[in-house]
Each structure stands twice: as C-alpha cells, then as structure tokens.
C-alpha cells in the first residue's frame, strides 16, 4: 500500500527530475538548439503551430528540453506563452501579400501566375536515404554553394500572386466574400462559448493537435461527414506582420514592420446546391479556410475541411458538431486530462467504496422487498 501513504514527495520529485535529465543526456552528447532549428523544420513548424507561438528558437529549445516529444514541447511553449503580455495586435494581414514559395491548385491546371511546386515531399520516393547516415557539414556547405549559383541569379525577387479564388469569384462561381472587419474574438483571452464565432473556431482549429485535426477531417471525407472538397489553392510562403504606430493608428505608411511569419494557407472548395428565387437550384462553391504557422500542409487542408463542417452543423455527424470538434482537438487539454489519470484518486475511491458497500447491504434488502411485492 506504499502508494497510499505517499510521503517524501519532495525527495521523490527531485530524484525523478535528475533521472529525467540523465535519460536526456546519457549518451554523453548534447544537441544544439541551432541544429534543431536547422535540421528539424517539420517538427519546429508543427510545434509552433500547435503552440500558437511563432518563434523558431523557442520552439527548438522546447524540442530539446522535451527530447523531441511534440506533445511535451507544445506544452512547454504554451505555458511560456501564458506569461507573455499582449502588447500589440497586428494589423490585418492580406494573404495576397504573401511572398509565395510554393503554390498549387488541385482545381485548375492553368491558374494566373502558374503552379509552383516549391519544396515538397509529395513527389519524393519514401526510400531511406542511407547517405544521410554520414552527411557532413562540409558536404552540405559545398552543395549549397553550387545550388545557390545555379538557382539564385541576382537579387531574389518577392513573388506575390493573385488568389485562385478571386478568379472564380469574378466568374460568379463562388459568392462574393464580404470582408468581416469585426475585431476577432481571442480564445486565449476569453473562453470559447457556444454557438461559437467563426474567429473562435478558426483559432481553435489552427492550434489544434495535428493528428487530431487530421483524423477528424479524414473521417469527414471518408464518410462520417457531408463534404466532398477540392483544394482550390494551397500556398506556402511568408507574410509580413505590421503593427500600428502608437499615435497614428490606421496610417499604413507609419505602421511598423515587426517581422514575417511563414504560413501554409489553404482554400478548400466544396460544391453545394443553393436555392435561388423561384426555387431554382444552382450549384455553387463554398469555401473552407485553413491557415497554420509553418509548412503544415495536411493540417491546413484538414482545418479547411473542418471549418466548412462547422459552418454547417448537423446532428448526423460528430465532425459537424462544434462542441465535439473544438473541445477535443487541443493537444494540451487532451493529453493533460488523459495523463491526470495517473494521479492518485484514493479519497474518491474510498468514497466510492463506501457507496459500493452500502449497495451490497441495501441490495439484499431490496431484493427481498421485491419478492414480497411480486409474491
């Protein structure tokens, strides 16, 4: 019964923390934060996205401390985020301003500006590359030198491209989109309420756990949902972030550029039937929107799918129920509650024990009572 009479907790924790440190470094090597940043782009992007904190260095530090466990790294960054005061809100970012690195459409072959494959694993063969076993810094530098000579001539130009959807909109195939200039709700400052606003939904989705968001979106398109989406446009690139001048708010020229964020943006198209005047039925496209920090394409697409699902609640599928989706996809919440089951519950258990014993006694009484009644 050692678990019940928990004593010496302080000592136990200290020893446990030492042991954890041992596990992290017992190979006698340490991994520099800069190397994580340099070589683990996918993980860094995922952690930044789920943490809703854009800082590659801190994400790399969290990954180091968490020994590469994304669940733990996100947890660290989110907790850090809680301590950071909110000093500014950025100005609205128009994604047309994106400096595009990659951009594809699954709907149209010929899109204004063209398809740009950019960096993607989509067409790599997933064969283990054993040459990476002994890749050296020297070899890497050399390769870079030649690549740069070959690919970058002169100043690298900013590449901004029109949105694919604007083209469809001009044709009247998707309804015109009115800008909603309401201040978005901030789910980290005010808790979610239901029915939720779209800004609340988009925030929860973009910081959702990658696997959870993907699984639910997969369920939707596999059959537990009512959507048949196509990728209208997927683009990856960097967006400039600006904040207002403290005294001249709203003046574009006086806004401060504070940096840029790399994001994946997806606009999904879902064909729907709409009823016009005189009951005339027409097909139109609706949009599902996904935007996540870093290059996280599967998650961005999944977000676009779920965004549209939640615009159309139906009791038929849990994936169209906002409480079901939004309450369960957060990494820190789901892993926290699951892992809390490891905590001792012996008072609650003692209490239940008392009730169970009572029913054993009452139960016999009850049975006799019933026999009398039916007899």
């Amino acid at each position: 019964m050692g678990y019940i009479a928990v004593k010496g907790g302080t000592h136990a924790i200290e020893e446990s923390i030492k042991r954890l440190k041992y596990e992290r470094i017992h190979h006698g090597q340490t991994i520099e934060v800069e190397r994580i940043k340099a070589g683990m782009r996918g993980l860094v992007d995922q952690v930044m996205s789920e943490s809703s904190l854009y800082n590659e260095t801190l994400a790399a530090l969290a990954i180091k401390q968490a020994e590469g466990n994304p669940e733990e790294a996100v947890f660290l960054l989110r907790a850090y985020r809680s301590t950071v005061p909110r000093k500014h809100y950025s100005k609205v970012i128009e994604t047309e301003q994106m400096n595009v690195e990659r951009r594809i459409s699954a709907s149209f072959k010929d899109i204004p500006g063209g398809q740009i494959l950019g960096a993607t694993t989509d067409y790599t063969h997933r064969l283990l590359d054993f040459t990476l076993m002994d890749e050296t810094d020297v070899a890497v530098q050399e390769w870079l030198h030649y690549y740069q000579k070959e690919s970058f001539q002169g100043d690298e130009e900013q590449l901004t491209l029109p949105k694919v959807l604007d083209y469809l909109r001009k044709e009247g195939l998707i309804p015109p989109c009115e800008n909603n200039n309401m201040e978005p709700d901030d789910v980290t400052r005010e808790s979610l309420d239901f029915p939720s606003s779209r800004s609340q939904r988009l925030q929860i989705l973009t910081r959702g756990e990658t696997g959870a968001v993907t699984s639910l979106a997969y369920a939707v398109i596999r059959g537990y949902g009512a959507l048949h989406p196509t990728v209208g446009e997927l683009r990856v690139g960097t967006l400039p972030v600006t904040i207002d001048h403290p005294t001249d708010a709203g003046d574009e020229d006086d806004a401060y550029y504070i940096g840029e964020v790399k994001v994946t943006e997806v606009e999904m198209l879902m064909p729907v039937t709409v009823e016009k005047e005189y009951g005339k039925k027409e097909m139109e496209f609706e949009i599902g929107y996904g935007l996540v920090f870093g290059q996280n394409e599967t998650k961005a697409i999944s977000m676009g799918i779920l965004d549209n699902c939640l615009e159309h609640p139906t009791p038929d599928f849990p994936s169209h129920n906002e409480e079901f989706v939004l309450y369960h996809i957060d990494s820190v919440e789901s892993t926290g509650f699951i892992s809390h089951l490891k905590m001792p519950h012996y008072v609650t258990f003692q209490s239940k024990l008392d009730s169970v014993r009572k029913t054993k006694k009452e139960g016999t009484k009850n049975e006799e009572g019933q026999e009398v009644k039916s007899g």
Binding site: E275, E277, Y278, G279, K373, S374
Partner: protein
C-alpha cells in the same frame, strides 16, 4: 359543446412561418404561392391564423396530410417551436389570462412540466432512452417539485401498470422496449402529473396495426377514466374517428373545416375533406 363552459385551452390566430418572407408574400398570401409556400423567397407559412378551443374532457382531433401544419402546430403548443404570432391561454394557468407564448422560457418549462403532457410520434423526443422507464416518469414528477422517492416510485409503478407495462420491467430502459411499449411509457410519463391537457402527435403512426389498436384502446380508456382533455393529431382519419369528439381539418396551414367528428364524417363540406372521407370508406 355548451357555450357556458370555459375552455381548457384557447388558441387565437396562431401563425408560424419558416423563413423571413419577402415583399411579395409578407401578408402570408400571394397569388404566386404554391400551397403555403412562397416560391420566390422559399418561406413556408406552416400555420396560418389557426384558432380553436378545447373544452374539459374533450378530445379534439386535428387531421390533415403531411405538410398541412398540424405537427408544427403541436410543436408550438408545447413550446418546442416558437410561434411567429398568436396567443394561447390555459384555464389552469393564471386563470387563462396570460398569453403562454409571451411567457419566459422558465415559465414555459413550468407549464410543460405541470399543466401539459405530450406524446411524440418519435419516442426519442419524449423519453430518455438510457434511463429506466420509472426514471423517465420520475423526471417529470421531479420537475414538478416532487422530492419523495417512495411516492414517485409508487406513482410510476401505478402509471406503468395502467399502460400495461409489466411491473418487473419498470426499471428497464425504454431502449430495450418495442415501439408500442415505448409509446405506452411516453403516455404514462405524459400523464404523471395529472395534467388537464394531453397532446398526442401521431402516436400510433409507424406501429403495427394490432399494436396501433391496443395503444388507441389504451388512450380511449384512460381518457374516460381520467376525463382529461386531449388534442390529437393524426393523418389517419380512422384514428380520429375512433377517438375524437370534435375535429379540425387542416390544409396548407389553415383550418378549412371543423365540427363534430360524426358530422364531418357524415357530411363533409370542403372538397378536400370529402376526398379524405371517401378514401376512408
């Protein structure tokens, strides 16, 4: 019905529309209507100026095809839907002086829990399928302020007995029951607080013929025994003939004919009613 009697329930000019309406149909009437539907904006006028009274101990039948607005009407009466306009008065609520549709949702809940009972066509709407049958009855008793387990158990057992649910199955959940049994549990639940008014919405639709007959018999005998007032909605004139003293015929959201049930069956006036009666014979 005698003129001097005070109605249990009185409905005046109940209107319910789905959709916001457009300039062409805002008066609820337009030459371009398809039945009660505005093809321009898609608004459905489900109930149009429906008025009627229900008297003590009376069974009022409402018959009509699907889409005639009768089920919407029932939903409005039990506050499952909000009315667009209209008034409703219950003799047992503030002496029939307060329009129920204007009351707060808290008060409407009180009215549902204490003065009315409803049996839905779909038992999922009327029962908690995973709770025991007797618990389902207790839910309504608790809602009306009951705090005594023994009394609720006795009342529940008595009611289940009345609707022919065997005593030994009273602690079973309705999800284990057949459709007919589920309807009988719903009836028991609806009757639990001895409401002066019972609403029955297509209660036998979808049941086997023999089961239908037994449920109808049950309703009939309970009504006689308890002298309760009933509003009964059905698309089946056979059900209406068996139970209703007086009948309203609804078509496209309006009441097109009303009178004693016998009279309507013998001498229908409106062409639609005539068609309905002929198809019964």
């Amino acid at each position: 019905m005698a003129e001097f009697e005070v109605p249990v329930l009185s409905i005046k000019n109940l209107n319910k529309q789905f959709g916001s309406g457009c300039p062409r149909c805002q008066d609820g009437e337009s030459p371009s209507f398809v039945k009660n539907y505005c093809p321009i904006c898609g608004t459905v006028y489900a109930c149009r100026d429906v008025s009627f009274d229900v008297f003590p101990g009376e069974v009022l039948g409402i018959v009509g095809e699907s889409g005639s607005g009768k089920s919407t009407l029932m939903q409005c009466l039990y506050f499952d839907q909000e009315v667009t306009a209209g008034e409703a008065y219950l003799a047992d609520y503030h002496n029939g002086e307060k329009n129920l549709f204007q009351e707060s949702s808290q008060q409407q809940r009180y009215i549902r829990n204490n003065i009315m009972g409803k049996v839905y066509q779909n038992p999922l709407l009327g029962l908690k399928m995973n709770f025991s049958s007797i618990g389902n009855i207790a839910e309504k008793l608790i809602a009306a302020g009951n705090q005594h387990v023994g009394m609720m158990e006795n009342r529940g057992t008595e009611l289940l007995n009345k609707v022919n649910i065997p005593v030994h199955r009273r602690k079973e959940a309705p999800k284990n029951f057949s459709g007919g049994m589920q309807q009988r549990v719903q009836i028991a639940k609806a009757l639990s607080n001895r409401p002066p008014l019972l609403l029955l919405d297509e209660v036998t639709t979808g049941l086997d013929l023999s089961v239908q007959a037994s449920v109808l018999d049950l309703i009939k005998s309970l009504q006689r025994e308890l002298n309760i007032s009933i509003v009964l909605v059905s698309h089946d004139l056979g059900v209406i003939r068996m139970l209703a003293d007086r009948t309203l015929v609804m078509l496209e959201g309006r009441v097109i004919e009303q009178g004693l049930t016998d009279q309507i069956l013998e001498d229908p006036q409106h062409p639609y009613t005539q068609q309905l009666v002929h198809s019964l014979l």
